[in-house]
């Protein structure tokens, strides 16, 4: 589904954050990218969704080269993005947040599909409420639901567990797993919180200094893998 070759990217004047990164995510897989802060996880996510231009390398989505496309064009080709810090529209209602996720894509009806609301009942319950008044965990669910409303082929999540209660983390991870299993959605998630990964993701990739150091590692049992945790996460 996603093929990244020799990707290099960075911020204006900030040097390269990603350098020669290769990553391949098969269709229907749930892959987590792990790494310490500053190693390039967020940069990778932004480069894939197009908010950051790649200076070198290519990004392929479902066989199509999307490297040169603007972010909205990539979204229209099936990338859904849940950014770090969630970035929901705080002044909009919950329902509006979901609708915008839907109508941003041409060709989708504005009505939010029922299964999505069933998946996140709290959102249906609070649909008239200002999104900014939700708790952090609820906002995270909203951000995911907003991305899913656009019916993506590939879902990118950037540290979805950040700042969220452990019980909710479990709930969110479980839901993601469920979606992957039932719909065949491909998920690429940048994370540090192992509770979000262990037992839920299919495989792991470790990012270190702007490149993938190791990939295809089984997610199950990663919490016991002291050598990798120490090497890549400093735990």
């Amino acid at each position: 589904m996603l093929e990244i070759r020799q990707l290099a990217a960075g911020y204006p004047g900030g040097g390269r954050v990603l350098d020669g990164l290769d990553l391949s995510v098969p269709e229907g897989a749930f892959v987590a990218v792990l790494g310490r802060n500053g190693m390039g996880k967020t940069t990778l996510m932004r480069a894939i969704c197009g908010l950051l231009r790649a200076s070198e390398g290519t990004i392929g989505l479902g066989g199509e080269d999307i490297t040169g496309l603007a972010s909205y064009a990539r979204a229209q080709r099936g990338i859904g993005y849940v950014p770090q810090g969630r970035e929901i529209f705080g002044d909009f209602t919950v329902a509006e947040n979901l609708t915008i996720g839907r109508i941003a894509k041409p060709g989708l009806s504005p009505a939010v599909p029922r299964h999505l609301l069933e998946l996140f009942p709290i959102l249906a319950e609070r649909s008239r409420q200002r999104a900014g008044s939700l708790s952090g965990g609820q906002q995270q669910q909203l951000a995911i639901a907003r991305a899913l409303a656009g019916e993506p082929r590939l879902l990118l999540l950037d540290e979805p567990a950040e700042g969220i209660q452990p019980s909710i983390v479990q709930e969110i991870a479980q839901k993601l797993r469920e979606i992957v299993d039932t719909t065949g959605l491909t998920v690429l998630m940048a994370e540090q919180n192992l509770a979000m990964v262990d037992g839920w993701a299919d495989s792991l990739a470790f990012v270190d200094h702007g490149a993938i150091a190791e990939s295809g590692v089984a997610a199950a049992g990663i919490r016991q893998d002291q050598s990798r945790l120490s090497k890549y996460l400093s735990i």
Binding site: G38, M39, G90, S133, G136, G163
Partner: protein, 258 residues
């Protein structure tokens, strides 16, 4: 000047019942701790536990929703960022707080010019900042060959080092570092730890570090405050805390019991 042996010194920084909310999101809830003079503390916690918000409240970028902050016996919450900085609190930002449009030399000068409390325009017009000190700082951050280079053209690591050098230019008593090792390799991390200890030992600085890198915390071997979900959940030294189930849970997630 090694001060670690001094008996029960009055706390330099005292944080009491600090809370900060953004709409429905609770970033800090009831944070309390004290830092003794010339100590090093690390606040450890996963991303999103409120570490950066805590720094923003202490350095005056944000006003707390509740609670108080005292520095050297003086209440500082509610003061402007500039005034807090002049009291001797320097803060390193996660994104390097350097001036991209200015040269390295100008960046260092901006930090140096106010050295010795000379902040007024008259002083700034008269003062000729200490060039020797400037070059020392440039050496310290390894940028003496790049004095004329615009900072926006530097690499990320160079900016990080430049920012630390700029913070050290003034009369700092409390140094706050926000993830100083983000993006660094293990050896670089250890070098930062050594630098921090050196600063404490040689200059008597009090250092507060926000970090989530356990390697760094271990190599620093200093007291740790563990934060999660907007509060401090544990305090102690690293070796003790690494076996504390609350800490393990906050790092490895629910259900982990290694």
């Amino acid at each position: 000047m090694h001060v670690t042996g001094v008996e029960a010194p009055a706390p330099l920084l005292k944080v009491d019942g600090l809370a900060k909310r953004f709409g429905g999101v609770v970033a800090l809830s009831d944070v309390s701790f004290e830092l003794e003079e010339a100590s090093i503390h690390t606040i450890l916690g996963p991303n999103g536990c409120g570490k950066t918000t805590l720094f923003n409240v202490i350095d005056g970028s944000l006003r707390p929703t509740a609670g108080r902050v005292e520095f050297a016996g003086q209440r500082i919450d509610g003061m402007t960022a500039a005034r807090i900085a002049r009291l001797g609190i320097a803060r390193k930002f996660q994104v390097p707080g350097v001036f991209g449009e200015l040269s390295v030399a100008q960046n260092l000068e901006t930090a140096l010019a106010c050295h010795g409390g000379r902040y007024g325009v008259g002083a700034l017009l008269r003062v000729r900042p200490d060039a020797v000190r400037r070059d020392e700082l440039a050496d310290l951050c390894g940028l003496s060959a790049k004095l004329q280079v615009r900072v926006s053209e530097l690499a990320h690591g160079e900016k990080q080092r430049l920012e630390i050098a700029m913070l050290l230019a003034g009369d700092v008593r409390l140094l706050m570092l926000d993830e100083p090792t983000a993006g660094m390799s293990v050896t670089e991390t250890e070098a930062v730890a050594a630098l921090v200890r050196q600063l404490r030992d040689e200059r008597g600085l009090t250092v507060l570090i926000v970090e989530h890198d356990l390697h760094f915390v271990r190599s620093l071997a200093e007291p740790v405050l563990v934060a999660n979900e907007g509060r401090i959940i544990a305090r102690g030294d690293y070796e003790t805390l690494r076996h504390d189930p609350r800490v393990i849970r906050s790092y490895l997630g629910e259900g982990a019991d290694a």
